[in-house]
Symmetry: C2
Subunit: 363 residues, 2 copies
């Protein structure tokens, strides 16, 4: 078992990474967890892992209730949020209740936002069961829901008090979702950790084949990278760089996800194709070589990830990108690479180059 | 003009109190206010004060949009919150936008919660236009909306970056609302400031007659008391005392507000009658004299506030109180007085005494 500390002052918390952790979760609970635990999970994850979790919490003498929601991005809605509120109210949950998210990013974001806003905030524990959630959404305190007019438009920063990443849960993950998680793993190499990118180039086959040691190493190093970025810019307020760098490929990817309709592309798939657009734009600005771009494309291919976006047309991409919340004061601020392993935020890319980069990276 | 500092570390902010402040608000805006200002107000307040505010912000070179909502507690709903989100999205508001609440507690709570949760948080300014909002809801960062199953059940802590309390706006306030505000003013005397309680006994007629100096003094001293409590317990996590003391009369009052239907009683009216129940219970526990209770009843009468609750029956009161979010781990934790000017949180009051106190204070 590996342990990582996310340093955020009074809001610091530990991340535990390893196999077989779910069954021993009672030993990991911090003192401030009260007598009541409210687990939020989904219909795919709950049959596999919920009983392991409730048996472990029962060992600690706490009582446990669970709400099982439908699987999928559509669950991250106002309607489901309200269903959670009604459940918590009908169960008379109060501030002695701790909310636990057992599932992927959708469950984590939704349960986290419910925890942030029910009675102005309850303690919250993340037990991510997808690679994407383990390396990304469970670290950093972003919570939220989608709005019909935009993804993740409504949300709050709400730090968990504990994150438990059990690699056993990755063994049942569909191949496509594993690959989507690897897209975010590769991102950390691209934005700030060239040696990790090189490690990934050497070990991509082990990851795709779910070698437990390779997975644990990749998760820990990803979380370490993310924790470092988050600790320096918890509320995403840095004008340059900072937490925004984690959005490499995300503004283009956001346009893909919305353009084809939520849930058609997985988030990580959209990030991969979106990152190719960001790299192509970086090349056009003279910062990357064609060989750099091809090297990353090759890594994505080995991870079974798409390297081209859907042909929505550059106009539609730009329109959708303008609605992304990462846009600042009306300007399109993108994350680009000065070099492999060195990301920057950039608001001065000429529109014709952005258009050309999009067109070059569409099927 | 008086200036007060609310000390909350990185989340500290100033409160300005005085007359004629609205027209000079451009000179009070902190640097971090960006180019865009989104004002949320209601149909009663906007015709009186919105143009004064927009003219002042225009002087600072910022652009301004406004959303005018219906007046009343029913506005503090999921539906209106969603209307605000849709407005902000359609106006393409991003993190360079500052949200301004111009109105009473409903507008402040609602706009503040929208600010807390739109794109995971925008800067927020409170311009409270009722006495209640000036002395209570605009200080301390509580934001939220009502749920059909409970008042203020959904919300977040989100500190404003500036509060402007212009006493001119109190001159158009209906008498009933002025009195409801005075209920919260009296509360500060009762829970922690006996000299202020004595000042109120000497100056109640001036307050009721809206003497500007008396109002400014009462607002400043109330805010100072509240700021002191909030600074010591920002997130209401103290096990004993702390921020919970601000809820004197509120758990009983909550039952009154819900029991008769939101909006029938004003919040301050319910707090006055609820406080009488808390004082009667304190007397039954041997902590107050009958003369103390009568002294406070007399002050409420002079403030034109009710001292009896509606006859819902003790069973119904207890049922509604159990749903209040101030209940801790299923136990009814009440705020009571050890003496005038000295409040405590207490979970050990026998149910029969609680029932007797309720019955004694119903019409």
């Amino acid at each position: 078992m590996k342990k990582l500390h996310v340093g955020l002052g009074a809001r610091s918390y530990p991340i535990f990474i390893g196999n077989g952790l779910l069954g021993g979760v009672d030993g990991l609970l911090p003192e401030k967890v009260g007598r009541h635990i409210a687990i939020i999970s989904n219909q795919v994850v709950a049959p596999l892992y919920l009983s392991r979790l409730t048996e472990a919490t029962a060992k600690s003498g706490r009582d446990c209730i669970a709400l099982i929601l439908p699987d999928g991005e559509a669950t991250k809605s106002f309607e489901t949020l309200n269903r959670i509120y009604e459940w918590l109210l009908s169960e008379r949950c109060d501030r002695a209740t701790t909310i636990v998210a057992l599932g992927g990013g959708v469950i984590g974001d939704l349960a986290g936002f419910a925890a942030a806003t029910y009675q102005r905030g309850l303690p919250f524990i993340q037990i991510p069961t997808t690679l994407l959630a383990q390396v990304d959404s469970s670290v950093g305190g972003k919570t939220g829901i989608n709005h019909p007019l935009g993804k993740n438009m409504i949300g709050a920063f709400w730090q968990p008090i504990l994150v438990v990443a059990d690699t056993d849960t990755l063994m049942t993950l569909p191949d496509r979702e594993l690959s989507a998680g690897i897209a975010e793993v590769i991102k950390y190499g691209l934005i700030r950790d060239l040696p990790f990118l090189e490690w990934l180039e050497k070990n991509m086959e082990q990851l795709v084949q779910r070698d437990p040691d390779a997975l644990a190493y990749a998760i820990e190093r990803s979380c370490r990278n993310k924790a470092g970025v988050v600790a320096a810019d918890e509320l995403e307020q840095a004008k340059e760089g900072g937490r925004a760098l984690l959005n490499l490929g995300h503004t283009f990817g956001h346009a893909i996800e919305v353009g084809v309709g939520y849930g058609t592309w997985l988030h990580g798939e959209a990030v991969a194709a979106g990152t190719m657009m960001a790299l192509e734009l970086s090349r056009r600005l003279g910062w990357l070589e064609a060989g750099d771009v091809e090297r990353v494309a090759d890594l994505y291919r080995r991870a079974r990830l798409p390297i081209k976006g859907p042909a929505l047309g550059a106009d539609r991409y730009l329109e959708l990108m303008a609605h992304d919340k990462k846009v600042l004061a009306g300007r399109l601020r993108l994350v680009l690479l000065r070099a492999l392993g060195q990301a920057v935020t950039w608001s001065d890319a000429p529109e014709r180059e952005i258009r050309a980069a999009i067109e070059a990276c569409c099927v």
